[in-house]
Symmetry: D2
Subunit: 282 residues, 4 copies
């Protein structure tokens, strides 16, 4: 069993020595050690993967043992264990490409997550969920029923012990209330190179503006739509002869890849949010 | 000698046959034939390179001979001859990387243009112009002297018979009046992936927003800053550990390459403006 | 109904006029006109898409009417009609990512082909074919049974009137005899940036050589393995910390995208083979 | 003043703690800590940047103080100080683009190196060296005079206390004897995506093979030409209409950028060689 320790605190002398010393003292071999200091505000961020097996400390003792050190350096911290597979709930509307892609990656073992459910405001994609053996919940939504629908999503996520949600081209805006239950734990894919083309119909906007590259952005969803911390982005070249349909088609390829990369980074506890920015220990 | 014919008109049956037939009738061999039709407004755009040498028509007769056909199809058109090297005036402030790059490409023969002058609002880069054997004009500018300074730029461009101007990181906004003299003939390089991060300090904006790619955009300058038709764009990946200085450094590499590509496309008469978009016959 | 005319012949004066004139004479509107001349051997290549509907010529008359002109210019040529959807047979072994990707693109309408069958030398992926409603044929193969197995593939392709075959990570080498039945009509995806890392285990080779980018190449299969004309390629950046498994995972993403692009180019009659090279009218 | 410590040793428990503990004990603040373990052979590699100013240890005491710890863990190690600017000798033939680019980056402060000399087997580029204020040595070479010419290069490098050499499109092969004096301290730029197109005229080879991307590779020169450890690579897309001259032109842009990145990585002590591979702590 391995553990991943995520630490954030004000930068100060002796931090690396303190963390590594703690692990050495418990005979835990360090597998990966990544750290960075934010130039703007002097915050220190670290991600440390170490072997619990073979060490002299038990998994459940790590937290209590680390607490005094964490207090001394004013750390926010968290430990994740490799035995705890993350549980990912998927929200989807009618576009199937991102959902298909994620489930195929889960099935092939590329993404080490369990998928306890797919929720959709449409019934169209039930057969896809069924093929992959994932329970499908059709939860239609209107302006009037939105609070109720979101309450059901939350109940579903709670019951399924979902660690995070992925909006795999879910064409609805989640309320601040729902998002508040999952801080930095809802990943959205936006079909533009944010912050360009915020809002609806970004491929149409891109076509009209005549850009020569179109993009996709995976970010943590926040109440301010398309303003959340960016996890990953990518672009693809387009040319004058391509129609909006061509842009949509080409865009799907980067949506898939960018979303899958972001989900993998999140799953492996490689993403730390710092204000509007993310640290991604790739 | 070769000629390049650029044609824009409403799409209609027989256009390609008419243009190619005209050239065949004059025994002019077609070297390149590129065309596209805009899906949104049904406009036809063509770029045809043909050999004047070896044909049965003289360069000066092409225009008169083509006019009746152009009228029949309601064409806007222009012919450029390979014997007429374009003349490029450069505007620059204090950053030397784009100026250096352009002049080195001209010197090596990669860009087939003549450079009659460099204008700068600062004196710093005179030695670079001198090294490349290009006349340097130091024209300082303040809010009060701007009309006068721009009048001198215009006079300089006219006297030098400049075909187009390049703002090679010229940190001033040209007035609509000056730009009006050079419609779609002033190329600017903006140091962001437009339309993201319009305006000043785009690398700072990019850093604060936490984007994972930064970009550069070459476009025709218009009165609405950063809103002109885009000729080319590119991006480069950045990560959380990089400071604003790193972004500036990485950005310089794409600024250079994107600007040089746009200048080459313009020089070879490959760019046709269509509203806010460009056709680039690459 | 639209038609796509592909022409190859020695470059000569009047070619564009002759082709476009032929279409104008039959009142057929040209939708796309693309041509290129090979600098090395002076061959002319053209792809012309035109509307048969609305013209004064019937589909079946185009060939006979075009023949005299084709003879005059010594053309090799072919016409494809938009009403004839291409039929694509898929060959696969155990890796499912390319097969999944192709079938999902067909299902969503992105690839305008019919898939009459999937052949595999293993039984593993039958459920995937079944999900997409495609007949699955398990044809195991050994050195001894290869001629017989390939004869069955050929019979299957003939019976299904397959226009082309795709080796979607089919881990067998097709014999020259089988390939001879499908000249430039079998597309393979090789998991390296050819011509680097020809042969087996390219990701292992790439890891050992310490390259900083890995690639994928879609090409027409020929008897000389990995030597066929390249249709498309792409790469992705890797770094020292990534293992061979990481390379395999990252490589899958470009294998999928490169293969899908090559299939689309082939399907839309955009690829013309010229010796070891391809013209791709993208 | 900052120092950069590079460590290589067999991976073992307590390494990070030992290194960070050593620095903490001397009150040296860690600015960057990067490490990796090679999956294939279990070697540990670390790059640690720390502040000497403000610590309780003097620069000259660091080596002696670190030695016992280094012995205990069987480390190979080296310390570089930010006050010691690296000295880079440039070898060049007739192509000026890489030389120009490097010198312009040095001049602008982007590359923190001193350039004590440029050596060329041709006289053509003396004026470029002169413009940048760098001594230029014209050392012609023939098969017969090669040992003597290389001896002069070595003498020049020794006298100038050059830390490393850059072959900025130096069209000569350096002998194993000369390279032996500068192990992993001679950087070459090869104009292909190695290991594809080893040897001469790679753009011609690329054209003939019909690849869809061309590349450039910066690597440490070794006696086996084009076989040395790769530092960085990049590619650019090409299409069927482009001639060999176009490939050469496009290639120059990536040669420049890839070489400059490699030089910067080397200069900042971010590259560690491990057999045929490099660790690049980017």
């Amino acid at each position: 069993m391995k553990a991943t320790l995520i630490v954030t605190c004000p930068d100060q002398r002796g931090l690396v020595a303190a963390i590594a010393g703690f692990l050495a003292q418990h005979e835990a071999n360090i597998v990966e050690f990544q750290e960075t200091v934010s130039a703007e505000d002097g915050q220190f961020f670290a991600r440390v993967v170490f072997e619990v097996s073979g060490s002299s400390i038990a998994a459940e003792e790590i937290g209590p043992a680390f607490t005094p050190l964490a207090r001394r350096f004013d750390m926010q911290w968290k430990v994740y264990f490799s035995t705890q597979r993350k549980r990912m709930g998927i929200l989807v509307s009618r576009y199937d490409h991102c959902m298909f892609d994620l489930l195929q990656r889960v099935k092939s073992g590329e993404l080490a997550v369990d998928v306890p459910f797919v929720v959709s405001n449409h019934a169209d994609l039930e057969h896809v969920a069924t093929f992959f053996g994932v329970p499908f919940h059709h939860l239609p939504v209107t302006a009037a029923t939105k609070p109720e629908q979101e309450a059901r999503i939350k109940a579903l996520a709670d019951e399924a012990r979902a660690d995070f949600l992925v909006m795999a081209r879910y064409m609805q805006i989640l309320s601040g209330e729902l998002l508040g239950h999952f801080p930095h734990r809802v990943i959205n894919i936006h079909h533009s190179f944010l912050p360009a083309f915020i809002g609806g119909r970004p491929y149409h906007q891109a076509y009209e503006r005549g850009v020569k590259l179109i993009g996709a952005t995976a970010h943590y969803a926040t109440e301010d739509l398309d303003e959340g911390p960016i996890i990953d982005q990518d672009v693809v070249r387009v040319h004058h002869g391509e129609t909006i349909d061509d842009l949509v088609r080409k865009g799907r390829d980067i949506e898939r890849v960018v979303l899958a990369r972001a989900v993998r980074m999140h799953t492996e506890n490689r993403v730390v949010v710092s204000g509007r920015r993310t640290i991604v220990f790739a």
